[in-house]
């Protein structure tokens, strides 16, 4: 696979001369999952948008660089809380939408293989309206994988799913995104402790690392160390709130 870089983000972010966060100094490690937590409105999604090179409401003063010095935005793909599937296209066409949008001929074999890996082969001709929330999020994952980019930015992609489906999606995403540089924005300490190689807590004052158990993700939901870590993270978030 293409090199998945480490990304470092240093700087502060102001909206109308009001400091939203920072100065922060955070790093998203190469080929690993970094989970970003913090209270609502602190600017977690803004960080994703900054990395993706999308418009934001304020000004970022600082720099976002990859360790190989190459541009980041074109190597990053994005998955949101909402599946963002196009309701007028079937699953197959939705998965290849990236190529279509670039005016290129899609690789249908690869699309089929990915749809198979997310377990949706039987639903290839269905439109999003006919799929359950979990299926739609799996389709969105296949679309993200179809872009085959080394950096993947996830904005609460599992938060709207029921507990069982969410755990399944976490397993699937951890498996399929292995080896990529992943930044996961989440509100859920359990999710962060399950999936993260690192956890970063974002607040007005900066970005701080949270210590995780010495085991590798994906951690089992009943792993005692993970549960302890999750409990203390939750306690920390509640104190901070």
């Amino acid at each position: 696979m293409i090199y998945a870089p480490t990304i470092t983000l240093q700087g502060r972010y102001d909206v109308d001369d009001h400091r939203l966060f920072g100065p922060i100094d955070m790093s998203i490690s190469a080929g690993q999952w970094t989970c970003l937590l913090g209270r609502s409105g602190v600017g977690k999604s803004t960080i994703l948008r900054l990395i993706l090179g999308l418009e934001t409401a304020g000004d970022f003063i600082g720099e976002i660089v990859a360790d190989d010095g190459q541009p980041i935005a074109k190597r990053a793909s994005y998955m949101a809380q909402s599946d963002l599937l196009l309701p007028w296209l079937n699953l197959h066409e939705n998965v290849v939408i990236g190529s279509r949008l670039r005016g290129a001929e899609p690789d249908f074999d690869q699309a089929n293989a990915l749809i198979d890996r997310v377990g949706l082969s039987d639903h290839i001709k269905k439109k999003p309206g006919a799929l359950s929330g979990g299926m739609r999020q799996r389709a969105a994952l296949a679309r993200t994988l179809m872009e085959n980019r080394p950096i993947v930015l996830l904005d609460e992609p599992f938060s709207a799913l029921d507990a069982g489906t969410r755990a399944d999606m976490q397993d699937l995403a951890a498996e399929l995104l292995a080896g990529r540089t992943v930044l996961l924005v989440t509100h859920d300490p359990a999710e962060a402790c399950r999936l993260g190689h690192q956890i970063t807590l974002l607040s007005e004052d900066g970005a701080n690392a949270w210590d995780l158990p010495n085991t590798m993700p994906i951690r089992q939901p009943d792993d005692p160390e993970m549960l302890r870590s999750q409990a203390s993270l939750l306690a920390h978030l509640r104190v901070g709130a």
């Binding site: 999308l54 196009l86 079937n90 005016g103 001709k125």
Partner: protein, 247 residues
């Protein structure tokens, strides 16, 4: 109860009220003809009405096609070039402040007594609703979808073709449904001002000769024609926005 029961009952109720009005007011038949007189006139003059209905129908269909196409093209251009939109939208709204009906004599002067001026009239009357509805839809595409497309490296053209236009089709569809009802108004006004054929002309002619039953019959045919257009355009528009579960 089948799905035609309510429309049938509503029609029956309308006819009863009409007949009751005739009885109560005791109006002479050259002022307010009874339903049965109108039905009789419609039947006796069916060939005449049909001949004029074809003319009006042609005007409306051509007006709809041209007006909807121009409106859709304008909306896409406005959405693609925001500066153009800021420059021309106020102008477009201003043109709507000019009553289109007042333009009918000028249009007849410019485009003649034939169907040309009526088509232009229909085009003028539907152009703005179609443009406005579609442009609204194009401007209201879910921002997250556009962000996703940007991260995928979408070109502006592809973004328009594959995301903005399909997202805005329901808005275009509502614009078209309105247009289907407005277009006959344009055509008939055009015919009133100056024509030798068409349902609007036939209504004036019947009125002038005190054949009020024929005038009513023509009016009803015109209304039915408008309903038909609305139905057909709605069906086409619904196909346009079909997101049924399989493809």
């Amino acid at each position: 109860m089948n799905r035609l029961t309510y429309p049938f009952c509503a029609t029956l109720l309308g006819l009863c009220l009409w007949q009751a009005l005739v009885w109560v007011t005791d109006a002479p038949h050259f002022i307010l003809p009874a339903p049965w007189r109108v039905a009789k006139a419609a039947f006796e003059s069916r060939a005449l009405i049909a001949e004029h209905a074809v003319v009006t129908g042609t005007e409306v269909i051509l007006g709809l096609i041209i007006g909807a196409s121009l409106g859709a093209i304008t909306a896409i251009q406005l959405a693609a070039f925001p500066r153009l939109a800021r420059l021309t939208l106020p102008l477009l709204v201003f043109t709507q402040a000019v009553p289109v009906f007042a333009l009918a004599p000028i249009l007849t002067l410019w485009f003649g007594y034939g169907i040309g001026s009526k088509i232009v009239m229909a085009v003028l009357i539907i152009y703005f609703p179609v443009t406005s509805a579609f442009y609204d839809g194009l401007s209201r595409v879910t921002p997250a979808l556009l962000d996703l497309a940007k991260t995928m490296g979408a070109s502006k053209t592809q973004m328009m073709l594959r995301i903005k236009i399909p997202s805005a089709l329901p808005s275009l569809a509502s614009g078209l449904k309105l247009a289907a009802v407005y277009a006959p108004i344009g055509a008939v006004i055009g015919e009133w001002v100056g024509a030798s054929r068409g349902l609007g002309y036939l209504m004036l002619l019947a009125n002038g000769r005190a054949k009020i039953d024929l005038m009513f019959a023509t009016l009803i045919v015109l209304a039915l024609l408008t309903l038909l257009f609305h139905k057909v355009v709605s069906m086409l528009a619904n196909r346009l926005t079909d997101t049924s579960v399989t493809s």
